[in-house]
Symmetry: C2
């Protein structure tokens, strides 16, 4: 299966069954996602048009002489069985089945149809993502096999998201664009014909070298034990975090309607995820913040954190957030404290949390404080805070210049560099996800991500 999925996610050629020139059809938007973006060969299939999105169109899959690795299917539900037979007969390696109208609808005909395609898939040994999915985006190899072309604007990086909801996938994908979360893959499971969490988790951990951290959005599963067993067997190889719906009774019953499965008692899920080495988080933003931080920084080896702030207020807020998150302020050694005292004039708080305000216009000293603190044995990670106005532009540029060899400390630095949009874009963005530093929007979110990084490491390494 892993080999098949590798081909499905990085195909040499893609056929779009139901490609269209009509904006109101999903086949139009799938073409929009591929054309000008995907570097392999694209085959639009539609019996009515000769040219689709400027490419030669084919009446059917059988009319194509070349091999097809991936078929994206967007034709109406009743035409899907035939389309799958054609795929199987032609040796297509994998299918993304966007079409809806299967198990998820009230009409029992939907379930019958889903059983039929499941049998066809088994007959040809054909992996199918979907039905009832928006598709997937492989940012690492430039394949956007979805009806949302904007996902190609997500930066390339190490975060993979497997989602049981297309809506949540869109929410997270758009947040990723806005907040600089760099991703490897974004995939929506749909009805999980024969590709489910366990298959994708195994593929991402074992086969996909571009993925460094795996984020899951889970509603409910028919066989939760299978996911948990696979996760446990892979434990320690890559960090896995999960965002779980169905915590409330109502959310739970909504899940049953939506995906045909009960989300199940949340307390049981909570324990089972921990047991399998998966960290559960509470919100979409927490999922992305944590994944972004893990992708960019080494995990902290303990819970002792230094807070370095260029203004007292944000430092206080971060200090307040530490303990409820399970972290504590580290204790500087005498040597560290003496060095900080030298670097800061005698007007500020020089103990942890350090108020670097008085060194505000001295980027060299600020970076020197950061390095000194990172070098302290009791420091497991640093929360680094600075709210910039345009007056601080030179300072930020100086910081980018001086921020070298931070990576060599092998400790995470989570920064909140708040800056006016527009000024932000240039020098501050240059510090995000570089040299072991990651930026998040607020001090509270920085602290929560740091705590989650520690917990992920703890769960990964825990003895079974």
């Amino acid at each position: 299966m892993n080999q098949k999925l590798a081909r499905l996610f990085s195909p040499h050629s893609v056929a779009v069954v139901g490609a269209s020139n009509n904006f109101d059809k999903l086949g139009y938007h799938v073409m929009k996602s591929l054309v000008g973006n995907y570097r392999g060969k694209i085959y639009p299939i539609n019996p009515k048009d000769y040219k689709i999105w400027g490419l030669d169109s084919y009446a059917s899959l059988g009319a194509i002489s070349d091999n097809i690795d991936l078929a994206v299917i967007v034709v109406p539900a009743h035409m899907v069985p035939d389309a799958l037979h054609l795929c199987g007969g032609k040796g297509v390696q994998g299918v993304v089945l966007i079409t809806a109208g299967f198990r998820e609808i009230e009409d029992p005909g939907g379930s019958v149809r889903e059983e039929e395609i499941r049998e066809i898939a088994a007959h040809y040994n054909l992996p199918i993502i979907g039905p009832n999915t928006f598709g997937f985006v492989n940012l690492s190899s430039g394949v956007n096999a979805s009806f949302t072309s904007e996902f190609s604007r997500i930066e390339k990086g190490g975060v993979a998201l497997i989602s049981q909801s297309g809506g949540i996938c869109h929410l997270c994908g758009f947040l990723a664009i806005e907040q600089g979360v760099a991703m490897s893959k974004l995939m929506s499971l749909g009805n999980r014909c024969n590709v489910d969490f366990p298959e994708l988790l195994s593929y991402l951990v074992e086969e996909d070298s571009t993925t460094r951290v795996i984020a899951l959005y889970i509603e409910g599963l028919d066989k939760p034990r299978r996911l948990l067993e696979v996760a446990e067997s892979l434990r320690g190889k890559k960090p896995v975090i999960a965002y779980k719906a169905g915590k409330s009774e109502k959310g739970d019953s909504a899940s049953r309607f939506h995906t045909g499965t009960l989300a199940g008692n949340h307390a049981i899920w909570k324990g089972a995820l921990r047991q399998a080495g998966i960290l559960e988080v509470d919100t979409a933003e927490e999922l992305l913040d944590t994944a972004k931080a893990i992708d960019a920084c080494p995990l902290p080896r303990g819970t002792h954190i230094a807070i370095l702030s260029s203004q007292a207020g944000p430092g206080m807020i971060a200090s307040d957030a530490l303990e409820p998150a399970g972290l504590k302020l580290c204790r500087f050694s005498e040597v560290t404290q003496e060095r900080i005292d030298q670097l800061l004039p005698p007007v500020a708080i020089r103990t942890n949390p350090v108020d670097m305000g008085p060194a505000w216009y001295n980027p060299k000293n600020i970076i020197e404080i950061l390095k000194t603190v990172l070098g302290d044995r009791d420091t497991d990670g640093v929360i680094f805070l600075a709210m910039y106005a345009s007056a601080n532009l030179k300072l930020v540029e100086g910081m980018v210049e001086y921020m070298k060899s931070i990576e060599s400390f092998q400790k995470p630095v989570i920064a909140c560099f708040s800056a006016p949009p527009g000024v932000w874009d240039e020098p501050v963005k240059a510090l995000d996800r570089k040299k072991g530093v990651v930026t998040l929007p607020t001090p509270e979110r920085a602290v929560l991500a740091m705590a989650n990084m520690w917990k992920v490491g703890f769960l990964m390494n825990r003895k079974r």
Copy 2:
């Protein structure tokens, strides 16, 4: 005091004592904030230059023949007493004292100097914001009397922020730009010479008609009782929410260094704020989200909420978040339920939370469902969720068209319209803060803001 503050915040003329052409001086940035933005008369004061930012410069305040309403002072600390005497002598109505180096520094000379300026201010009956402040921005009347010119990019609206930290003010101001929070005023107290929370709260509630909701960031106060008494005397007039630092022992001791006051036992604060009718929130984003929602929508009259979602996943997430936030799903009347059944094809969840997915391409029906639910007696507010891809552009445009007379229901609609940045800008933004609808970035944040709106209303109206 209220009259003096009204003049200070909406001056007819502003003098900048210490104006500069040098980028490295704060006097440069204060001028940048005013020039081309402020419509009154600007008087740069600097004995060395003839022209500053293209305007005629004056050697001293005494050289100006016109009346000066507001003086912004950025000269070094030792020159401040003389500058204040000149202001008092000339009949200046109010001062923003940006200069630092007073009570906040370790050197006892700072406190001596602060006592001196306090006496001068008392002598002339001169309100002073600061010292050690970045200033204020009055978006309602276009006065940016701060060293951060980018704050002028915040949209004009009804949210006023009073902050005890310049850093947090910057964090919130930049978040406001990014997240469409429309503000009336942004003010940083600094060392609170003679203008403190009570004075500003009273002014904003009693005098400032542009302010509809007041957000506070509090660290610690010398006389907390005074703020609480003023708040209680004004209770019920305008919603007040507070974000309080110093919850932890360390945050607390940092506050003592920073502002010379203990933040104090948080449990006591928590109770006292409630008692005074002020809602406490936990994060910067929660403060802004709640204020934004209150500014744009009527407060819910109860805790019964309808969730309308265009995808099942986000609807489940919102349902999960309701109960922990103190809200519950409302129960539709038979009439309401019948109407929804007519508007949605029989393939979806039509009970609360409603999955509007099957009406996805029918904006008229979606808005009709919204109106039906708003009209139900048991509905106190609506959470409205839709994750848009570019394929949904026409739908969004249709929604803007059909979304009329929502306001007449006098119930809040908090929406999460997630959309790819760029596509978002046009039609979706057109729905934000219009017609009784406000948008927030995630389903969880939408629910939390709705819960806070209800709590604010409860605290405002509670019998003393």
